[in-house]
Assembly symmetry: C2
Homo-oligomer: 308 residues x 2
């Protein structure tokens, strides 16, 4: 799947991923109204609203982008109907040829981690049959539990040719509380980065590993170091746009081949119509605003990469 991700990036010339993290407050009123008219102000109604919202944004942007990253928490908050909307979103994006990175940040141990890996990337055996529960192409994984938590994911990735992105240095202000703590003179995130490189060696695609890393756009200097620590790992970079990261901060996350990083924007794309910059589209045309925001983001990153 890392090979397909790279192929999609080359085809679109856009090393970006659209974060499908639909807060209900992002969904324009006319979309909410239509959903509530059908299902009432219920979990099912909310799930329908975010699904319709997603669908229109995917329809308006899929030809420009290689991948999407639905944030499962935004669906999980709507209970079981929300999880159904998540699965429907994953399936729809795959139909459109997009690579789907499930931002699930799961992590547990042994058979439990294997259950997560199976549920999201693999197939579960039921009697004589096999099923793929949420069938994303990649998943994000939390490393706090160590190799016992990661290895079951590696096993499933190998079997299914899928991939993971392991949290190394997250984009948030307090990420340093634990991640930056110095261990023998080097920060914890570097130690995690080294393990990512090590785990990644076991499951190599054509030029990059099935095992990538998450490193926030808000920490470009750390990105520079981590790029070297994990040369064969794709870096999923959150924190662009709404969280403060800019195109010029991102160049350090890429390798000389122009690959090696994929930059996420969520709010900045899916709720673009609420920004002054895209206000002329109006709430009715929110998906067109998202398309324009994608074009602007691609140009920003392309410009920064060309200027380096």
């Amino acid at each position: 799947m890392i090979n397909k991700l790279i192929e999609n990036i080359k085809k679109t010339n856009a090393p970006i991923v659209v974060g499908l993290d639909p807060m209900l407050s992002y969904v324009p009123e006319h979309v909410q109204k239509a959903a509530f008219a059908e299902y009432g102000e219920t979990l099912e109604g909310a799930a329908e609203a975010i699904w319709q919202f997603n669908k229109a944004i995917v329809d308006a942007t899929y030809d420009l982008i290689p991948a999407v990253k639905p944030q499962v928490a935004m669906y999980e908050q709507f209970g079981v109907p929300g999880m159904a909307a998540y699965e429907k979103t994953v399936a729809y994006c795959q139909e459109k040829g997009l690579v789907v990175i499930g931002d699930i940040k799961r992590g547990d141990i042994g058979s439990t981690s294997e259950a997560y890996a199976i549920g999201h990337l693999g197939q579960v055996q039921i009697g004589s049959k096999k099923y793929s529960g949420f069938h994303e192409d990649f998943a994000t994984v939390n490393p706090y539990l160590g190799s016992d938590g990661v290895k079951p994911f590696l096993k499933v990735c190998k079997e299914e040719k899928k991939g993971i992105f392991i949290l190394v240095k997250t984009s948030n202000p307090s990420s340093g509380e634990f991640q930056d703590q110095e261990i023998n003179g080097r920060p914890l995130y570097e130690l995690v980065g080294e393990k990512v490189a090590e785990w990644g060696e076991e499951v190599m695609g054509d030029s990059y590993s099935y095992v990538g890393a998450v490193v926030g756009a808000t920490y470009p200097e750390m990105g520079k170091v981590l790029r070297k620590v994990m040369p064969k790992s794709f870096i999923l970079v959150p924190g662009y746009g709404a969280q403060g990261g800019q195109g010029k901060d991102l160049v350090h996350f890429f390798n000389e081949d122009g690959l090696g990083a994929i930059v996420n924007s969520s709010r900045g794309i899916i709720a673009a119509y609420r920004q002054e910059k895209y206000a002329q589209f109006g709430a009715e045309n929110y998906a067109d605003a998202s398309r324009q925001a994608v074009l602007d983001m691609v140009a920003d990153i392309d410009g920064a990469l060309k200027a380096r």
Copy 2:
């Protein structure tokens, strides 16, 4: 909810929690067969099988125990129908008066962490109405992202009088890879433990905080230290039984008041009928085997506490 947990522990005189982590392989064939007869060998069939399995175990043990801890990964592997079985299990256990600790190990940042907190412990606003998606009483939380990931949970815990258990030192063999790394001469897990104590001060119940910690039974010496670092935090202790922890290892996790810890057993209880010790019950009477395993576990811990 911490007050209710303590009340339940005092009532049952059993500082234990039954881990409802149903692998399909634990579910006796007659239960699987009945479920597949109704729903086929499908995700729905598997979800029905684990729900019926859970229900019988809860019916056979609820008068002896204060709490259950369903491991969401075991449900998530069966996709959306699995998540529905999870929710149904949570609701049923609550009807029986049990405190439900959702072992979800979630953790993200800002509004995303808030979405998890709302989905599992709080209420989501949909138009003029509010809904509780998975409505557990406690949830486990991964601390790797720092305060930004934890504070949204604290906010929801305060509003809803619910609680969390933060991963501090997990029970698995490789937990030390990152958690034991020394920072200024002290291991990372101690630093996390200090933050747990600090976060916990904001949300106090009558005698213990809404914020607890997860510390594995397999590391009793570390438990001893952490007990002192977080005096007002309940410790959820996995790793008893199948993972190798024994009654005598557990005394250090408790405070002088005989409270402060709750010991989990999953496989050891729910799959007791597969152990030689309980084989006489037979697969047909798996729930009775679970009841006996609960009685034995309570006696083991009680004996160890009395002997200290």
